[in-house]
Amino acid sequence: MEAVRQPVCLLLSATCVLLTAIIPMVLMHNLGEDGRIARDSGLAFHLVFGLFISGYAACSSLSREMHSGTAAVVLSKPVDRALFFLAKYAGVTVLVFLFSACACISTLLAERTAERFISNSTLLGYVTDWQTGKMLIGAPFVAFLLAGIINYRWKKSFQSSAFFLLFGCLVVVLLVSGLFDQAGRWAPYSLHIQHRIVPGGILVTLALLVLAAIALAFSTRLSIVPTMTLTGAFFVIGLLSDHWFGKLAAESAVGRCLYGIVPNWQNFWCADYLARGGTIPMGVLWGTAVYALAYTGAVLCLGVLSFRSAEIK
């Protein structure tokens, strides 16, 4: 819960939702590519904002606690260091899941908002779903307003209330939007929502979880700035993994080793599969999930080993 209560994470999540919502509303003359742009932008915002959220949450939950002395208080209790480390990762995971759910729903709704060619008895031509767009933009404000009321009335944490309410509001918007077509008539749910985007969001979420594990492992020995810098470097190197180490891996053992050590983020970016109405194959999804699980497991093991011998000042 501590991770969810960090104002920075709430602000980044709300900004991600708003930017994702705005993109399809400001696009003009895209030759029918609005949906793709909204979808790709949504996934990109999901990844970029998620990078900051997972990195920051991992750093603040361990590195900051180690330097501020909070970790010392907790570890003076009967808490095993490995358990403490893994609990921190679990906390970050909850935050990443919550953020990812919000980001993923926003992408679904942004794609729904985007201009598309409609041809039926009442509509003919390119139509932007302004209703869905307005509801999507309104969701963070409604969540903040309700969280403010809850904070005023029941003295509950504004941040955590707002975070959960943001998710709740987005779910409501998704359901409402999914039950009506662009003309405002009732339609069976899912007819106008592109659920094939969800696996893309799941893959980005897996990438964020791997990244969070890397940041948390660095946090056991480094302060926030070096941790964020190294995690960022890992991200950039991982994006270029195929280019830098792919060829090298085919030629030498060192190359194979480097290729294996550096996380390959290309595995997690499957927006191309979604082009022209395509879907992400389940084999790709499962393969990447196994890769993410194995990589995260290995990084967490190293993190536990490092944390066991770390000195808590």
Partner: protein, 309 residues
């Protein structure tokens, strides 16, 4: 683990702690070859100026830092043993708590770390909040607390498990005189129940009031140690306290003493210390302004911390 009353529950032998820089080169020797043994039920004070190695010693005892040389045993075990920590309570120098949790949530969280039952956690939380005067602030985030309030909630978390060994790092730092007195009374109450207290402070009056034995650290080394009474006693002088006498009789006694001893005796009226005077004034003012209310500084000790509980 049943300890005999005079058994040492904390044993530090030839402890040296050297902090290293990024390149693993020695940077500073915070603790240099110190040996301390603390018996069960004892209130032991570690004194010293800032940077003398007090907090470092405590953190090695808690298993948070690793000794460079020497060894530490707490309840007969290495301090990194998790089971030892079930019987420890630790108040750090600064109250490092989760800023977004409320006071009640904070105590509940620390109670959970000791696997206390929900009912016990709730009882103790309420008792500690009442004892430390935090009932009105129980549902406020700890991040909004003043330094004194944060100190109190820090003290509460250190006592949530009713520990056998309480390690207090500057416990009265940031507290008002009423809070200081309350903490000192609490230490004496805990000691009365057979708890072992390791107190670390640079406030000499606090240490003098509550400690049985002390060690004075300076630049990582012990410069003096022993019973407080032994260390402070001036064996070559004597004080006699008695009710006030008529002026003539006083002069006669002084004259007699001068004749017999050959030295000039000093005469003065015993004075109460400022803390006692301050608390008396507050007590009186409190009783006068709110008849029937409990005077400040007289909040009860939590039931589960009372003698016989």
């Amino acid at each position: 683990m049943n300890e005999k009353p005079d058994e040492s529950v904390v044993v530090i032998e030839n402890l040296t702690k050297v902090f290293k820089d990024f390149w693993r080169r020695p940077k500073v020797c915070a603790v240099d070859n110190i040996s301390i043994s603390i018996k069960r039920g004892e209130v032991f004070g570690l004194l010293g100026p800032n940077g003398s190695g007090k907090s470092t010693t405590i953190k090695v005892v808690l298993g948070l830092l690793h000794a460079t040389r020497g060894q530490v045993r707490v309840l007969g075990r290495v301090p990194t043993d998790v089971s030892v920590k079930e019987r420890l309570g630790y108040l750090p120098e600064e109250s490092h708590l989760y800023l977004y949790l409320t006071a009640r949530e904070t105590l509940d969280l620390y109670g959970k770390l000791f696997a206390l039952e929900k009912r016990i956690r709730k009882e103790r939380t309420e008792q500690l909040l009442e004892m430390l005067g935090l009932v009105d602030a129980a549902d406020r985030p700890v991040g909004e607390f003043s330094k004194g309030m944060a100190r109190r909630i820090g003290l509460a978390q250190a006592l949530i498990n009713d520990p056998d060994i309480v390690i207090l790092d500057e416990p009265t730092s940031g507290l008002d005189p009423v809070g200081c007195r309350q903490v000192k009374d609490l230490i004496l109450t805990l000691a009365g129940r057979g708890k072992t207290i390791l107190l670390c402070s640079h406030l000499l009056a606090d240490v003098e009031d509550v400690c049985d034995r002390i060690a004075i650290l300076y630049r990582g080394r012990i410069r003096a140690h022993g019973q407080v009474s032994d260390l402070l006693e001036e064996r070559d002088s004597l004080r006699v306290t008695m009710p006030a006498m008529p002026p003539g009789l006083t002069q006669e006694v002084l004259k007699l003493l001068k004749e017999k001893t050959g030295t000039e005796p000093a005469l003065d009226h015993p004075a109460m210390d400022l803390e006692t005077f301050f608390l008396d004034v507050l007590k009186e003012a409190s009783a006068r302004s709110e008849p029937g209310s409990r005077p400040a500084g007289e909040r009860s000790v939590a039931d589960y911390l009372r003698p016989g509980s």
